[in-house]
Amino acid sequence: MFYREAGQFKSSYQADQAIFPIIQDRWFMAIVFVVAYLVIPLIADEYWFQAVLIPFYVFAIAAIGLNILTGYCGQVSLGSGAFMAVGAYATFKLVTGFPELNIIIAFLLSGLFAAAVGMIFGLPSLRIKGFYLAVATLAAQFFILWVFNKVAWFFNYNPSGFITAPPREVFGFLVSGPEAAPVTRYYVSLIFLTIFAFAAKNMARGHLGRAWMAIRDMDVAAEIIGIRPLHTKLLAFGISSFFCGVAGALYIFVWLGSAETEAFDLLNVSFPVLFMIIIGGLGSVLGSILGAGFITILPIFLTNAPPMVGIAISADFAKHLEEIIFGVMIIFFLIVEPAGFNRLWQIAKEKIRKWPFPY
């Protein structure tokens, strides 16, 4: 009834290639933007910013990054935590070594460092495929974190081994450090997410994205029509790690404030980010964001739900129960919709298109 594309004729290929070719989609996106940029900052309190929204956006960036590599290019990586750590530690060294450097520049430079490291660890992808590659990326995960843990230079010889976000201003707003206002940090992560999401979408729908998907769907055929596998895969590793690197920098400097390498380990970061893209939908930018939201909010919900309904349980028991419920929900979700939120979204749109008729 409301959601119809009938009558919306496209008279140029440019119009047909737009991200949101249907006017209702454009309206919907406009509403999302207004809510994210204007409404939420007005109504959210500090708990929501710190516990839900900022990690959601930061992880969404990392998930988009991993989705470029895994969803579009088909190279499963379990090393996203390590690439995020590279971004975070590079930012730490940059902002402490060059205090006058704008922290946004530092974030982007750190992304480049992460991209370089990612490309080095992407080299084996030419010869190693599938899960063998996935396990091989664990080498990156463990080795990189070991280096950051072992070499004291990376955490400025801090005896506790932590890296801490120093206060830094951008255009007069404090964006990092303990004094930075949650709403400012919210905006920083949101702006980064917006830019990165659009950049990823644009790359994915251009010839680069097609090259990635060609490698994913059938690498032999891709090679025969002239796509160079190493070049294409390394670019995917590089761009993916750039996204992860910037996400890692935001993770520490905009969200946590201080952390050690444990914050980036397999169970804390790499697996959850992989869950985000699987549950969100492989090969979908929107899916990455939805998946990030789900995986960030689910544990918070599980922690808060029992006290809300008045059940008092011990912390230890609650933690394990949370693990079980989390695991079961993951399996349940995979059974119900293996193609993820992105597919659910498509189905929903299809239903609205036909509403009020069932088919």
Binding site: I128, V135, A136, L138, I278, E322
Partner: protein, 311 residues
């Protein structure tokens, strides 16, 4: 020069200077390697039969060991406790088949892998809720004494573990090569649909394989738990088994065993002789790096055949 010396010369000189110690290090590595082999074996069985990259194998080891210890703490005699634990593992295999595998037939491997990680969470949580999360001692009555044999220090528990593992592998090999179930399993491993078409009951095979993997996990749990106590860190041996798998191949039983031994020895040697040069704690990544470098030169792994790509 200094760097070259510490990394490339000194360790080898150390090895040469005390051969008895080197032998002990190698034997120690093999003992650890057997454990990796056992876990890797569980992985390989499940991967071959159901295509699931079973990340939860480590959690299954923990779960089996916790169940066994929990039963023994309630004064169940050892043999009965082992049988009961095995019953629990078979029950779980049944549940997994019924509520997970059957519903995920024909899904992409990455989906199955994610489901296995989900299963990993369930096992970890359930094991610790049911039996508590503090470190437990597991005493199965095998003496843990050191003795000398030909000038080399050996440990009776390690020897027992090695023999058990060897027997287990032999039994499994016989089971898969000689019995009709084994043949059916190999058929399923080769091609699900073809196996279904000739009337092999896929679901039953899955239950059997997951049960066998549960049994292997139980044995690994007894061995490892008896040595180091039953605790949460048991799940981490799953992470040790992964480099074994890429070295030996996901589908190769001999690969899992030889790969496990190699990784065990290699890890021990690197830890003893190169550890100080790196500043310690290298066992977390050294095996991965080694396996990765090996794969760069031989992508088909230890026992794989060279792949000819066809179009």
């Amino acid at each position: 020069m200094e760097v070259l010396n510490t990394f490339f010369v000194a360790p080898f000189l150390d090895m040469g200077s005390d051969l008895i110690f080197l032998t002990e290090v190698i034997i120690g590595g093999m003992m650890a390697g057997i454990m990796y082999s056992l876990v890797a074996l569980g992985f390989v069985l499940i991967y071959k039969a159901s295509g699931v990259f079973n990340y939860a194998q480590g959690a299954m080891v923990l779960f089996a060991a916790l169940t066994l210890v929990g039963l023994m703490e309630r004064h169940v005699p050892l043999v009965l406790a082992i049988i009961l634990t095995m019953g629990v593992m078979i029950g779980l295999a049944f549940l997994i088949e019924r509520y997970m595998l059957r519903k995920l037939v024909n899904q992409a491997q990455i989906i199955l892998f994610m489901a296995a990680i989900g299963l990993n969470f369930v096992f970890e949580g359930a094991g610790q809720i049911a039996w508590g999360s503090n470190v437990k001692k597991l005493d199965v009555g095998i003496p843990d004494k050191s003795f000398e044999f030909g000038g080399i220090l050996l440990n009776s528990f390690d020897l027992f573990a090695a023999c058990t593992a060897a027997i287990l592998v032999a039994i499994l090999a016989l089971f898969f090569q000689k019995t009709p179930t084994g043949r059916a399993l190999r058929a399923v491993a080769d091609d699900h649909q073809a196996a279904l078409a000739v009337g092999i009951p896929l679901n039953t095979i899955w239950v059997i394989v997951w049960s066998v993997a549960g049994f292997v996990a139980l044995v690994a749990g007894i061995m490892w738990g008896g040595k180091a106590g039953v605790q949460f860190s048991l799940v981490l041996i799953a992470l040790k088994a992964l480099p074994v798998l890429i070295l030996g191949g996901f589908e190769s039983v001999p690969g899992a065993i030889i790969g496990g031994l190699l990784i065990g020895i290699f890890e021990k040697i690197s830890e003893v002789y190169w550890g100080p040069a790196f500043g310690g704690a290298i066992e977390g990544w050294f095996a991965y790096m080694a396996a990765l470098i090996f794969l760069m030169f031989r992508p088909q792994g230890l026992f794989g055949e060279k792949i000819i790509e066809r179009v």
